[in-house]
Symmetry: C3
Subunit: 154 residues, 3 copies
Amino acid sequence: MTISARLAELGIVLPAPAAPAGMYQPALAAGPFLFLSGQLPSRDGALPHTGKVGDNVSMDDAKADARIAALNALSAAQAALGTLDRIDRVARLTVYVASAAGFTAQPQVANGASELLRDVFGPERGVGVRTAIGVAELPLGAPVEVELTFLLSA
Amino acid sequence: MTISARLAELGIVLPAPAAPAGMYQPALAAGPFLFLSGQLPSRDGALPHTGKVGDNVSMDDAKADARIAALNALSAAQAALGTLDRIDRVARLTVYVASAAGFTAQPQVANGASELLRDVFGPERGVGVRTAIGVAELPLGAPVEVELTFLLSA
Amino acid sequence: MTISARLAELGIVLPAPAAPAGMYQPALAAGPFLFLSGQLPSRDGALPHTGKVGDNVSMDDAKADARIAALNALSAAQAALGTLDRIDRVARLTVYVASAAGFTAQPQVANGASELLRDVFGPERGVGVRTAIGVAELPLGAPVEVELTFLLSA
């Protein structure tokens, strides 16, 4: 099954690719990889939530934001490659969580992105290595930022 | 000398590979690299210390934790590859240090991981590039998280 | 035009490569990439500013620091490769900004590094993917740390 068929099966419509908010490319093929810029959970140019997880942003909202950021990464990947079917698999996922003091459940927030990728690419190809950390602040006050590296098909 | 012989010479017994604490793989070969998930300094499923370096976690404890996290990475690499002898060298090491306000000696904490890798792989192959940063919070309250990328032998 | 000619045209003299401040290599070629260690904005062994952006470090100073850190990365790359002309393009740039509470303009700080790389390598080869995040503390109190991955020419 192609990834676009799988997205349709899941009822997922990828957002339109966002214009870069700075001097960078959203996605870049380099060597065997597709590198993605850090993705915020923007929807139609706005963030659904701002602030810190463990303070004014709930776990459920943060997980949903991680999922949206991963969808934005897929949108950027599709725009760069023409088709997500050129992706062999998820290689590395880094999830930065803007964390209130004492909030230490970053992996659960990261699961919002991980579950989306597993659903789209399947458990064999959609689950790679992951790092989840709690940071002080993220651009525009986003609670979550997601960074992805895909392995491209040979 | 094989890496397992070198580990024996150093008196190092790798811990059993930990089960993933979320939806990720501990290690993944992709292109010429072996990517490792962010590793916490867990021992037998528990963290030796929790909290912030420069506050309730001492430099010595943090360095020891960075070493344990690196050992956990080696354990994950061995489980993924079958043998550490497939590793050509350490490529990139990132050390995230949960830092109290004003603590700026992240590189010294990172040396706990760097020294272990140098000892195991030798100064030619065990010392790669490194980034050390101070973060707000880490999963489960860990003081240190270590992320590694190895170059595989051709 | 060679990169050294381009640097001369821009009036840029690369700083002497800094000695590593820990157990790492400043730069390492691995697979198709040149990995760089996290670079601080040191000049002649000292930081122009210390502290947090959004507190005692201004946006202009932070952008200037990001540029200096990127110059230090170029110096390390040149020392490792012999010549910057072996670089095909900028692949990944990560900019860590030591951020005061509520400071969320990390991308503008990162532009200090991005603009330098665009100027040196040109808009086609100098602009890759980017992640900008706000962290709690950086080594030696630096306001900015820059991590680069270049793609090498085949």
